[in-house]
Symmetry: C2
Subunit: 188 residues, 2 copies
Amino acid sequence: MSEATKEGLNGVDVPTLFATLDAVKANPEIAKFQFRVANQWVSGTHNRGTINGYYGAGQEHQRSGDFTFDADHPPVLVGNDNGPTPAEHLLHALGACLTSGLANIAAARGIELGEVTSTVEGDINLLGILGLDPSVRNGYEAVRVVFHVKGEAEAEKLAALVDQSRARSAVYDVMTNGVPVSIEVETN
Amino acid sequence: MSEATKEGLNGVDVPTLFATLDAVKANPEIAKFQFRVANQWVSGTHNRGTINGYYGAGQEHQRSGDFTFDADHPPVLVGNDNGPTPAEHLLHALGACLTSGLANIAAARGIELGEVTSTVEGDINLLGILGLDPSVRNGYEAVRVVFHVKGEAEAEKLAALVDQSRARSAVYDVMTNGVPVSIEVETN
């Protein structure tokens, strides 16, 4: 379905959104999802992630085509800028998650959105990943998000959309609370 | 510089990599980086992240062009598949970070890589983000990475590359340990 044929407030099909909630209430098992990415090394710090199939709502799903995303380091970090750094992809995931949620919540609350933009920035001291200072962590030391929300509601109600999106964001939860990650290796 | 003109083991310019380490040792201030993403809501759960400028090595940097990445929900989650879900972008960031690091570490250790692929999968129960069960978290409950590493070294040494990459991965650190995230809102 193209966006041009989408109906409903903010491009959200609100009746289907509520119907989906009802369907999950009636059968909580369909809420179990598994998402996946396959990564292939290209050269140096350049590699490519491919995203397509996932499990959810009781079955496997396949998109009409693969989504592929390159990652690399910039020249100042001895890469070739074939894509953003992985650490920038991480910030993108956060901004995207908060924005997708915000649009759904606004539609559910009957608030028409105008422009919604945000910036996500993260401070990182590379002494950590370079192994040069054990007191410096590998990851971001702090991440800041600034939302600019325009819409047909008073400021308090627009700000509350961001609050609720944060309160229900999968990526915000993982980035602030962490998640267990297991890593296995198969060789040659 | 195109990849075709890159030199060095695994496409990594090892002398420059070590020179960069020496430069940072001599002036640790240049290790302070800031990465940024700008996100723009498009319609419904569809939004677009733009990545370009960053601060690092004592100055602002701008790439030759923007990197843009769409995110959306799939139809089963009332979206239109205009891009992967934000939660899938998150998995991509992890796979990419571990792979970029692995290639650098292999080059520094003099190990020639063959094929390096990995899969990253995450289990998520949407009862959390749908607000239907307060005992279920919003984010992934578990993430699993499986690496397949081929290269000119014994299995133990190839597996050790993944271990060291994990030990120095910015995204792995954030995803397993969390990071403080602040969110501000400006309205209308």
